[in-house]
Symmetry: C2
Subunit: 408 residues, 2 copies
């Protein structure tokens, strides 16, 4: 797990493409200034990206008396990427151009019980077929499909080792998907998808250290450390949802008690509601999505029961997020995923106040807490970025050295 020259080269390639996506058109000189890399390194990496057809030369700018500088930009039409957000209650699929604009979207909802691997794979294959047809994209132009799978995933083998809400153990998901989808597939989990999405396109762009708090059916933390995604030695880092907040507290499906997730995941929030207001009309038994939506609408309308549940939940969330602030000392904590999006600003305000009661002064002062600024589904975007990263990684294999300012 040591960083080799090759890892550093891949990380640099990501960094340069991220910057080009953020600021197209741009010059090699601007890229060197923005990334801290040398001009020679940037020129080599830009050459590789040109060779891959991911970016294109778009002319020259004057440079105050010097030689005109070549400009490059993302080649939006250079390929398509597909991101799959496979969640406990739905499958959402989006197709993107290389500037990561959404060109097509499909969604399938999954009823409780629809959780056999074959059923789930069927939903994914249908939705992927739908976005390709909608966008009218030739198959050859799809660079890859990134799939976010809840729980713990082995990226290399494509096995879903543990998906607690479906009770999946060691499901060979990549093999099953390969039977239906012909494009290159990249599997990982939603913690990684949200982290990558914020790092490339959202609130963690340009940050060394950021924590993306994923609030959905499950909860967890996507970790950006030292400017890259931290995965841990077996790709299972970030299981903040299964850290103990209340020793001997509520039982958790992981076998532990008092886990953060049991108080702050969508089923935990339903339980908070049931405990505080057993007869509340906001409770839609057996339907997480409807209950969270009802609570969020209630908060917007000033319903005292809904407000009480939000405050109660934010108390747990605040203590748990303060733990992340004290442990990681990040520049930013981003609240992401569907539960955070449903509650929005009122949740943010309550969480900020609760974190301030629990965190140490020094790391608290260094940290911003924000909602994800990504306007579309961050998990789809992050999953599509897995495919983009995959394409960039295979790029290194035939890389040639180019001189600074070299033309194609």
């Amino acid at each position: 797990m040591k960083r080799t020259s090759r890892d550093i080269r891949t990380a640099n390639r990501y960094q340069v493409l991220r910057q080009i996506i953020a600021a197209s058109p741009t010059s090699r000189q601007e890229l060197a200034a923005a990334t801290g890399l040398s001009l020679a390194t940037v020129a080599t990496l830009v050459g590789e990206l040109l060779d891959l057809g991911l970016i294109t030369e778009v002319g020259f700018e004057d440079s105050a008396g010097g030689r005109p500088r070549g400009l490059v930009a993302v080649d939006a039409a250079g390929g398509a990427l597909i991101g799959v957000d496979l969640a406990e209650t739905y499958v959402r699929v989006e197709l993107f151009d290389l500037a990561l604009n959404v060109l097509a979207r499909a969604e399938e909802s999954m009823r409780p019980g629809d959780s056999r691997p074959e059923q789930v794979v069927g939903h994914v294959a249908t939705a992927v077929g739908s976005v390709v047809a909608q966008a009218g994209v030739e198959g050859a132009r799809v660079l890859g499909v990134g799939v976010s799978v809840p729980g713990q995933v082995d990226r290399d083998t494509g096995v879903s080792e543990y998906a607690p809400n479906w009770d999946w153990h060691d499901v060979p998901l990549l093999d099953l998907l390969t039977g239906h989808i012909a494009y290159p597939l990249y599997l990982d989990n939603p913690l990684r998808a949200c982290a990558v999405a914020e790092l490339w396109f959202g609130a963690a762009r340009g940050c060394g250290d950021a924590v993306v708090v994923n609030l959905g059916t499950g909860v967890g933390a996507g970790l950006v450390l030292g400017g890259g995604v931290h995965r841990g030695v077996s790709n299972s880092a970030g299981e903040w949802g299964h850290t103990t907040l209340v020793l001997d507290g509520r039982p958790c499906h992981c076998g532990n008690h008092g886990c953060v997730e049991t108080y702050t995941g969508a089923p935990g929030i339903m339980l908070n509601l049931r405990e505080l207001c057993p007869d509340s009309p906001l409770l839609c038994p057996g339907d997480q999505t409807a209950t969270i939506d009802a609570l969020a609408r209630g908060v917007g309308a000033g319903d005292p029961e809904a407000v009480a549940v939000l405050r109660h939940t934010a108390r747990y969330l605040g203590a748990g997020v303060a733990d992340l602030v004290n442990l990681f000392n990040p520049e930013v904590v981003v609240l992401s995923s569907w539960v955070a999006a449903a509650f929005g600003e009122p949740l943010l305000a309550e969480v900020r106040a609760a974190v301030a009661r629990h965190a140490l002064r020094r790391p608290l002062a260094a940290t911003r807490i924000v909602l994800s600024p990504i306007p579309t589904d961050p998990v789809c975007l992050g999953a599509a970025t897995f495919a983009l990263e995959g394409a960039l990684q295979s790029a290194g294999k035939g890389a040639r050295t180019r001189t600074a300012g070299g033309r194609r």
Copy 2:
């Protein structure tokens, strides 16, 4: 906080010197193989270390028919390093040669109340003077003094921002020390010292991701992530002692309740003893060191009260260490500092069993939990390593390029 080319160069320089210290004498070819760096990069870095006098050429080895390979080794006599473990109840100072062998040692104990900054600085200056005199080292050969200060430290300004057990706030410690000590000074906290010690010389050597759990008066986690020490955006990462384990539990001096430290730091363990066995003869009121020693001896002798306190404490520790395993997914968790050293193997066995009850299967399977293998005070060793890192960092400024295999 982005990684620049310069950061990468410094990290590579650390990595090469670490490997030379681990395996002297060694060749540039072996170093390239062990670090994953290119031979050209290794040759440049070796040249810099030779120029600094930290390493020396020690001859040649045959290379199976090829040109003989030059061997390098640490130049133990090339300089001296001093490490200061400034703890709540003692000051320990050790003087090292460049192979990090201890040449001299001094200790001052501090009574409760001896905690005014001037008193503490006086103890440090006395002990530093003592080790230099004992070792008979010329002042000019001392490359630097690393000082580990409890709590939160600003490394750049040398201000102790918060040392909870002394109630220090914004003490300009570097300025105070500079009045008494003429060598270059490097301040940081014990979490960083223990992490650096394990990374260079202990159980985290060669690891990408490791967590060093520091069990003393305060508790915390030194973090090794991506092969380097993770400090966070304001050098306050690792405050695991101030994460919530028991919501609304014991009050903590940080203002929060139920922090890990309140159950597992030396004063917390004393409180565990007082709650379980109020009249125990093992309790030495007002003396943490004596109480922990009495408990450790009691565990060794099979005293049921001592064993009960160890088990009770390990239950909290196990839940807290499982949180670290689930969040970081490290290769190794190292139990370090004086409380861990006092209890030793019986603590390790109880903690391993408790972690197994709380952690998720996948990260648990990937993690070893061990006692620190460092035979001397790891905080002194880590603090001395700060001084070595400081010397290496200033080295980069006048670095020259050398060719592979070049001789001095």
